[in-house]
């Protein structure tokens, strides 16, 4: 038996070489092969065969001979599909526009929300070692409470790196508080949140340095890193490495060692200055259990976070014995989870006057993901509906194709090509639309999103996927349905009668409207709740209250003089000094308290230090008892109703209350070293007022006098005239400068601070309104298309009815009825769903509106009205047609 030449190169050659040369080329190859087998042996010949194959890879062989006749390959069919698609699309301009508009809208919504979500999910992932970076979270359980705090001690971080083999590095960061940073040359001064950290911070994370050296930036004591934006403000340039800064806490100037690029928007880090921790070298090494530092650990490759966390806990226990009944455990939170999964974790900086690091809310991220998918689905359904509804118009085409021998798979392919083309077109339009909308969207979400060639490849990959999915999903149903008809039936009656297909179409319409109505109701409830939160009587008047931070020691010690200066101003009505204010953006301290001599457990209450002007300035009503009167009241307290109830006090008559410990989030610690409780006398009860967001129930609140031992004063609050606010603020600044010229004037309007509690809700509301509008719009496009089609189909029937005396109203009702029924059913499904969803959401608020029946009626009526408007246009037009026209040709 003769050896056979290898088959694969033959196949390749057959495919490669032009048909008219195939015979001689393959003949040559084989003949040569047999000759070589005889001369060189089979193995050699095979080898040569492969190598020689490559010599045919040249244009001379590959170029196909031109012929006068088309060669019927599958590309020809594809070309035909495209041609027919374009023709159908162009011929039915209305449906094309409806389809493209619907899909474009759907894809645009999806892309915008998708970009937003992508940003949320990729928080903090710009660091190259992100998969190995973890944040230490301490779980502390005492007899009375249990909490998680993202913090650990200096020593623990240090020793963990040294003793645990899996840990490559640890970084400590302490956002200590706010301080003035001053440019010594120009005296430009800014009060900033300052953080302390060690050099490992720069080693673990990849903060981009634009000036200076990141490798040594935090090594030396008295060095500081600042970000570009702060450098610009202080020095008007970002090339400032090597220059010095004055820092209000210490006398030694700080040397700027590096300038960082501004943090990207999707970074949890928001510090703008970091001072070297080497300044605090002489720390108490025996302190193992404090939690002052946010600690990040960089693990070695393939190290298990759980094992390391256990080792850290063991390390702590080896060096520290907690009190009986208290247990401690550490866990490691991956850096990538920090943004979305930190809801119940207390920030390490809770004790200092800084705001907690921003974070996202997983629930809303999920809700929006679902909404995005629904919007896209509605758009796809539109396409399906219109395509199947108009199937009978194409019955002849399908019949002829089938009669000519088209396989079902070919027809499926044809319709898929069509839908892919439409979705591709819509997709391109959507990309343009997204780019037009992005500036506004960015402003509103506070992000920096973009969709262009620089965008992350994963976004493009997924958008491409969406394009394909949209095309397939919207095309699959019509494709499968249309290709399934029997050609004889098609060609004989030229009508497609299928009950099941009709009911499915109806089902889809119902689905669309259900989603629209649910979103509409959700939007209305959200809107009403936000209005409720901003109008609700908080128990004090929040308008025209200016809160000024106490930013220097002198402003604190000479509070009386300062207060007098401010009160002298004509447009300042009242001034009060307090440690915290209602609507506080920092931590309000908690205290434990119980009536003296009581055997009950301690009650937990918030505490604010205030003065005699507090009630007047904030317009809080004193229900009974008296107000503070003089500094002699330093051990008097006022309670709010809730606190009074908790302590079983109904009449304020100087009852003694013991306050032994306080907490700034997390642990309760004794007020002083001697563990001597603060004994206070209850002199009055004030009406409950909201000092937190309306999500929280009013908690017990103790108002202590300004010089109380728990918390020192921190703010001046002035009630001002609203005539000329900027001028008033100027005068206040000047008045305060009289007492302390170095004091930085920093102010907040209390009503704005309250509004910030609901800022995210406001954003969600706006987003939901837009989504609701889009879904309704898309659903209406679909309905419009279906109504148009129905009117077209029944044109003869309408003509006959008209001849027999039906009025326009009769006919309009006839045509609208079917669709209205669907919208009504949709309402029926949507109401319970919406009721459930909105009740869940409102449950988050301790104080909320009730979901009332009229909201449902309004949303339902709106949906019906919109649907009716959409349908009736077509219905009336059909009813107005002269029957002569529609009946003439048969």
């Amino acid at each position: 038996m003769n050896p056979k030449p290898p088959r694969i190169p033959d196949k390749l050659l057959t495919w490669l070489v032009a048909p008219h040369l195939r015979e001689e080329v393959l003949g040559d190859r084989h003949e040569r092969f047999f000759r070589q087998v005889q001369r060189l042996g089979e193995a050699k010949a095979r080898q040569r065969y492969w190598r020689d194959m490559l010599t045919y890879v040249r244009p001379v062989f590959m170029k196909r001979q031109e012929t006068d006749y088309p060669n019927p390959t599958h590309t020809a069919m594809l070309r035909n599909y495209l041609k027919i698609t374009v023709r159908t699309l162009v011929r039915n301009k209305l449906y094309t526009v409806l389809n493209v508009a619907g899909l474009t809208f759907g894809i645009t919504c999806f892309l915008l929300i998708g970009l937003y979500l992508f940003d949320e999910f990729t928080f903090d992932q710009q660091h190259s070692k992100v998969n190995r970076i973890y944040r230490l979270v301490e779980h502390k359980k005492t007899k009375s409470e249990e909490f998680d705090v993202a913090a650990a001690s200096y020593t623990l971080a240090e020793e963990a790196r040294r003793q645990i083999a899996e840990i490559e590095n640890t970084a400590r960061m302490n956002r200590a508080g706010r301080a003035d940073l001053i440019n010594p040359e120009t005296q430009a001064k800014f009060q900033e949140t300052v953080a302390f950290a060690d050099q490992s911070l720069m080693e673990i994370f990849d903060f981009e340095v634009i000036d200076g050296d990141s490798k040594t930036a935090l090594k030396e004591p008295n060095s500081i890193i600042i970000v570009e934006e702060l450098a610009q403000r202080l020095f008007k340039t970002s090339k400032v490495a090597g220059r010095t800064l004055h820092f209000s806490f210490t006398d030694t100037p700080l040397k700027v060692t590096a300038v960082l690029k501004n943090h990207p928007r999707n970074s949890s880090f928001d510090f703008n200055s970091v001072i070297s921790l080497s300044n605090q070298q002489g720390r108490d090494r025996a302190d193992w259990d404090s939690n002052e530092f946010m600690v990040f650990a960089l693990l070695k490759e393939h190290a298990s976070a759980e094992t390391v966390a256990k080792k850290i806990t063991a390390l702590l226990y080896a060096n520290f014995k907690p009190e009986v009944g208290t247990s401690l455990a550490f866990s490691l939170q991956p850096l990538a989870d920090m943004h979305l999964y930190s809801e119940n974790i207390i920030d390490a900086a809770r004790n200092s006057n800084v705001e907690a690091m921003g974070q996202g809310t997983l629930l809303y991220v999920n809700v929006f993901a679902v909404v995005a998918i629904f919007v896209l689905l509605i758009a796809c359904i539109n396409y399906m509906n219109l395509a199947t509804a108009r199937a009978s118009n194409r019955a002849k085409e399908i019949g002829v194709r089938k009669a000519n021998g088209a396989f079902r798979s070919q027809l499926v392919k044809q319709f898929l090509v069509e839908s892919l083309l439409v979705s591709l077109f819509s997709f391109l339009l959507a990309v343009i639309l997204v780019n037009l909308l992005l500036p506004a969207f960015n402003e509103f979400t506070g992000k920096q999103l973009s969709l262009n060639l620089q965008t992350d490849y994963r976004i493009w990959l997924s958008t491409l996927l969406i394009l394909l999915v949209t095309g397939f999903v919207s095309g699959s149903y019509p494709a499968l349905l249309l290709s399934n008809f029997k050609p004889v039936v098609l060609l004989k009656s030229l009508k497609i009668q299928s009950k099941s297909n009709l009911s499915l179409r109806k089902g889809l319409v119902v689905f669309q409207f259900t989603v629209s109505v649910v979103i509409m109701i959700a939007t209305m409830v959200l809107f009403l709740q936000i209005r409720y939160t901003s109008n609700k009587d908080l128990g004090f008047k929040k308008d025209l209250l200016v809160v000024v931070d106490i930013n220097s020691a002198k402003a604190r010690t000479e509070a009386d003089a300062m207060q007098m200066e401010l009160a002298k101003l004509a447009d300042v009505k009242n001034v009060s000094v307090t440690s915290r204010v209602p609507g506080e953006w920092k931590q309000i301290p908690l205290v434990k308290m119980k009536p003296q001599g009581s055997a009950e457990d301690h009650k937990i209450s918030y505490l604010i230090g205030a003065d005699e002007n507090f009630a007047k300035t904030f317009e809080v009503r004193i229900l009974q008892g008296r107000n503070f009167t003089s500094p002699a009241d330093s051990s008097s307290i006022l309670l709010n109703e809730t606190a009074a109830k908790a302590l079983h006090i109904s009449q304020a008559s100087g009852q003694l209350v013991e306050i032994p410990s306080r907490s700034f989030g997390g642990d309760f610690t004794p007020l002083n070293e001697s563990n001597h409780p603060f004994r206070a006398r209850v002199i009055g009860i004030v009406k409950d007022f909201h000092f937190q967001s309306l999500r929280e129930k009013i908690s017990p609140m103790v108002l202590a006098y300004q010089n109380n031992p728990v918390h020192q004063i921190d703010y001046y609050t002035a009630r001002i005239e609203g005539g000329n606010i900027p001028a008033t603020l100027k005068r206040m600044e000047a008045a305060m400068a009289k007492i302390d010229p170095t004091h930085t004037f920093e102010y907040h309007f209390l009503d704005e601070q309250f509004a910030r509690f609901y800022l995210e809700d406001q954003r969600r509301q706006t987003l939901l309104i837009w989504v609701a509008l889009s879904t309704i719009f898309i659903a209406c496009l679909g309905l419009f298309g279906l109504a148009t089609y129905a009117a077209e189909q029944r044109i003869k029937e309408i003509g006959v009815r008209k001849v027999l005396g039906a009025s326009v109203l009769n006919l309009t009702t006839l045509l609208s009825k079917d669709f209205l029924k669907l919208v009504l059913i949709a309402n029926g499904i949507a109401f319970p769903v919406a009721w459930w969803a909105t009740s869940e959401w409102l449950g988050e608020f301790a104080y909320h509106i009730n979901v009332e029946w009229w909201i449902f009626v309004a949303a339902g009526a709106l949906a019906i009205a919109i649907a009716l408007l959409t349908i009736s246009y077509q219905a009336i037009r059909a009813a107005l047609v002269n029957p002569v026209k529609s009946l003439r040709s048969e």
Binding site: E23, E31, R32, D52, V60, F61
Partner: protein, 111 residues
């Protein structure tokens, strides 16, 4: 004389066709060249050269008989045209003239 449009490999192939006529086709030519030069020559290269030569009008071709070892496929047989022959003669005479002008001492240096 359009000397430039006849490459060296083409010239050799053309000569081989002239030698092998009337049984000149790519496999035979490739083997002949392999034997003469001692270098492996692929049928692909030869075939490509033949196609170029045919385009230029130096050879013509007809499809010959099929054989079993070709898997029943026919071969393409090439013959040199009058134009091809003239070009070969021209090339040869140019070479000859140049050869004759090389002085013996130069030749001695080479050997």
């Amino acid at each position: 004389m359009r000397r430039s449009d006849l490459g060296e490999f083409e010239e050799v192939v053309l000569l081989t066709v002239a030698v092998m006529v009337p049984k000149a086709y790519s496999v035979i030519i490739a083997e002949e060249l392999e034997r003469e030069t001692g270098q492996p020559v692929s049928t692909g290269a030869v075939h490509a050269a033949l196609q170029r030569l045919e385009q230029k009008g130096y050879v013509t071709s007809v499809l010959g008989e099929a054989t079993a070892e070709r898997g029943g496929r026919r071969k393409r047989l090439f013959t040199v045209t009058a134009l091809g022959g003239r070009v070969l003669t021209d090339v040869r005479s140019v070479r000859n003239r140049l050869w004759e002008r090389i002085v013996p001492p130069t030749m001695l240096e080479w050997s």
